[in-house]
Symmetry: C2
Subunit: 345 residues, 2 copies
């Protein structure tokens, strides 16, 4: 079995470990978010961690209604004109904790006397050293170049902090059930993978998602792209309608990520436009109507609350990415030209 | 001549009109940005206006060092859980001023007693009605579905406000020279367009850009995509290195946007990785070394200060988009399935 598949299957255990060990630390981070002088959250990240950051944007945006912004690292590194950070709490997210640009943003937070927090799988990394408080991701060593369990545990860490900010027992109980849901989802997704054989001719795909799953769309796109070299991109349905839909040609695969919840309708409303462009529709959903409309249903386990659905909704994408690469005879542990740790400024 | 080409050629006159008429209004907006209770800027936008918003993120981020964040409209519309906007000045950018989601963000700003500003080409639009202060784009009627002069005038409006925030006479003088530079750029880009014939077989492309031109990369990608239906995407070189470069296959066109300035190096450092993947390189630049390395040089007029380079750097992209579509026999004024005004929530 590839490292990728092993790690993908380890996700439920890795998530359970995080939840078991890091509740207290999550509460310490939450106290920082609740400070009176905090008006917004500034997140620095790259790659898969940026997709986890998009989850934080929705989940933390709804907890305490705190707005979340993404750092523009070049202002810190290339232009050396970092913004004033009055009112900010700064959060760095990095699996390796090694990228200089993410670290530079945290260093600036400390220089300006603002709280600096880190989510990283390596509590001894340069990023962790720069932070006031570190939440270790507890994913264990990850060997495959494509992140799986570090991604899901980044989401889990954000969910832990969210539940702690509101001291929300219902949310905590819902989160505690996620390792089991994830286990079930992995079995379900491996079961539906054979239907992907018909996409062996694809040159690319578009993933559409919104709201709490907006980041899921980007993560699925990145995973397929990294593993198979296909041109895969992600859009919100609203952004797609403002021009980019022009590139959806007949036969082009579109993966609609639309679990039950307030943003489901925004994605499913796009289906007629996709049908009229004769796209091939894959649906990541637990909603029977949408699964029936799809050429390729990629079902989600039912009963997961919307705010936690990103932890399961990424799994069909991970499995799809792995299968599409294997169909092309590629080594899923070492995609050509990629490294596990990427250092950018 | 198509409406698109007419409007593309009208850009210098449209920009001159904006600069001539709206200096005073820009100063009023600037006063709002300078208020003591303003810690950050929140921008709401869609489509080409989101690419102009990225320019604002860099330019305003450097003026007064004020951080800029993008709104997540679904929190306002679908989830009905808008964030607290303490410390924010809110800016809506919309060519038509008609999209309900952009308007919803401004309405929330007013509800929370925060300043609400709008950049729009229609001062009687719903967006303008919602704003405390409106800066009209003065682009004149735009008939082609793909935005050209409204995009450049959105950049011009942001540049006007930037120069006013710092009461910066040097910047104002530099901006006053841009209509002439734009005129020269349009001639230059039409002159180099014949070299695009060799891309008639392309199915897509990747645009790479950073810093003040990060939004230029997205706008060039959107323009080519809207007009020709090709799959075109944009990345910063740092983000591309964190995984997505896997999809750059032999022969894939990569458009590197890298005018003289601090971010030039970050883009040009990527060239060896692109060469080793045997990509076809198009370079939008005024730097001779980069133009020589490119299979297809798309030269920029020299002497434009970096902070204003996005106003000229988009032009080779607009001309490329038009030519690629015409090579495919498409009507550049009405790309299939697109409308001039898109209403999303």
């Amino acid at each position: 079995m590839s490292s990728l598949e092993t790690e993908l299957r380890e996700q439920p255990a890795a998530l359970a470990r995080l939840l078991e060990r890091q509740g207290e630390r999550a509460a310490e981070l939450a106290a920082t978010f609740r400070r009176d002088d905090v008006h917004y959250v500034l997140i620095a990240s790259r790659g898969s961690s940026s997709n986890a950051a998009r989850y934080a944007q929705y989940v933390l945006g709804r907890a305490n209604r705190v707005p979340v912004m993404f750092a523009t690292p070049s202002l810190y590194t290339i232009y050396e004109q970092p913004p004033r950070l009055d009112g900010a709490v700064v959060l760095g997210i990095s699996q390796s904790g090694a990228s200089p640009d993410v670290r530079a943003v945290l260093a600036e937070a400390r220089r300006q006397g603002r709280p600096a927090l880190a989510l990283t799988n390596d509590p001894d990394s340069p990023l962790a050293t720069e932070a006031d408080l570190v939440l270790p991701l507890e994913a264990g060593e990850e060997r495959a170049v494509a992140a799986t369990k570090t991604y899901v545990n980044s989401l889990g860490a954000i969910a832990l902090v969210f539940a702690a900010i509101g001291d929300d027992r219902v949310a905590q109980a819902e989160l505690a059930r996620m390792p089991a849901a994830l286990e079930e989802q992995i079995e379900l997704s491996f079961g539906t993978a054979p239907a992907l054989a018909e996409y062996s001719d694809a040159v690319g795909a578009t993933v559409v998602a919104r709201g709490v799953n907006y980041g899921t769309g980007f993560e699925i796109a990145l995973k397929i792209r990294e593993l198979s070299g296909l041109v895969v991109e992600a859009y919100s349905p609203a952004d797609l309608m403002h021009g980019p839909i022009a590139a959806i040609q007949p036969g082009w695969p579109v993966i609609a990520v639309a679990p039950t919840g307030p943003s489901h309708m925004s994605v499913s409303e796009l289906v007629p436009a996709l049908v009229s462009r004769r796209a091939r529709l894959l649906a990541v959903s637990d909603v029977p109507e949408l699964l029936e409309q799809a050429q390729t249903p990629l079902p989600l386990v039912p009963g997961v609350p919307e705010w936690l659905s990103p932890l399961v909704a990424v799994v069909p994408g991970q499995v799809t990415a792995m299968r599409l690469a294997q169909q092309r005879g590629l080594d899923v542990d070492s995609p050509p030209g990629l490294n596990k740790v990427t250092l950018t400024r």
